[in-house]
Amino acid sequence: MSARRPVPGAAAGHDHAVPTASPGPTGEPLPSFERSVGRWLHAYPRRWRRTRAVEVTAVLADLAGPTARHLDARTALGLVIAGLVTRWREHPPPRAYLTYRLAGRHPGPAWDGWLRDDVDGRLYPVRLALTEGLVAAVAYPSVERLYLAAGSPGAGTTGPATAAGRTSRPAPAEASEDRA
């Protein structure tokens, strides 16, 4: 976030109050600083991190100074907010999202990157289980009721058939790999 006044000196007496045109402090940032930055950058989407994390870490190291051991609270908050805004911007709109989540329909080429991160994500099995569970909880009793009312003996086979229809997931276009 931006301040409307010059920021007082950061860690260990490094003075940022005077605007300078020189490049940032040189030398490697401390490993604890890089770890701290890596943790906060998780607010950004995975594909964003893959392409920009190194560059952003370098800028943060320049801004913080060579002796910073971890990211300060104000910068971290700014990063988290910006990361969440980036996630929001690259999230498909509600209808495309729902048709994808519940009916497996591809949300559209614009959301390819988001789709890839969703499918590759660590929590993807959880998301799948939740939506399958939701659909099963809602649909199964209704379908079963219909079959029982119609007197059909095959009521028990609708469950696996519905699950099988949902196991094929849309694959994002290969071109999304190269998109920055």
Partner: protein
């Protein structure tokens, strides 16, 4: 008409108009251009840069490794340059109209503390 350009976006475009810069360079340039008034945080900076690149007003122009640190440079595109000059003209006209209003308005009585 697209959304009105924010002051921070305007300053970033101006910083890039001087010469291609990397992230830290943009922060320093914005600080100087705003006379010490606007200090961009990394989150805000990258939000603005991402928006400018998505709108085609800026683009990445090369990477250099300096002292083990990666620096990605950004530069203005032609579209960005046009947007910048248009916004500068708009601000200049606004300032001129404001100056006319202020000089024409009856001045309040002096000596009132």
């Amino acid at each position: 008409m697209p959304k009105r350009m924010s002051e921070q976006s305007y300053l970033v475009l101006l910083a890039l108009a001087e010469e291609p810069r990397h992230g830290y360079g943009v922060v320093q340039a914005v600080l100087a251009l705003s006379d010490g008034d606007v200090r961009l945080g990394a989150g805000t900076l990258y939000g603005i840069l991402d928006r400018l690149v998505a709108a085609g007003q800026a683009e990445a122009s090369g990477e250099v490794v300096v002292d083990g640190r990666l620096r990605r440079y950004y530069r203005l595109t032609d579209a960005g340059h046009e947007a910048l000059t248009a916004e500068t003209a708009r601000l200049r006209d606004l300032a001129r109209r404001a100056q006319r209003v202020l000089t024409a308005a009856p001045r309040p009585a002096l000596g009132q503390a």
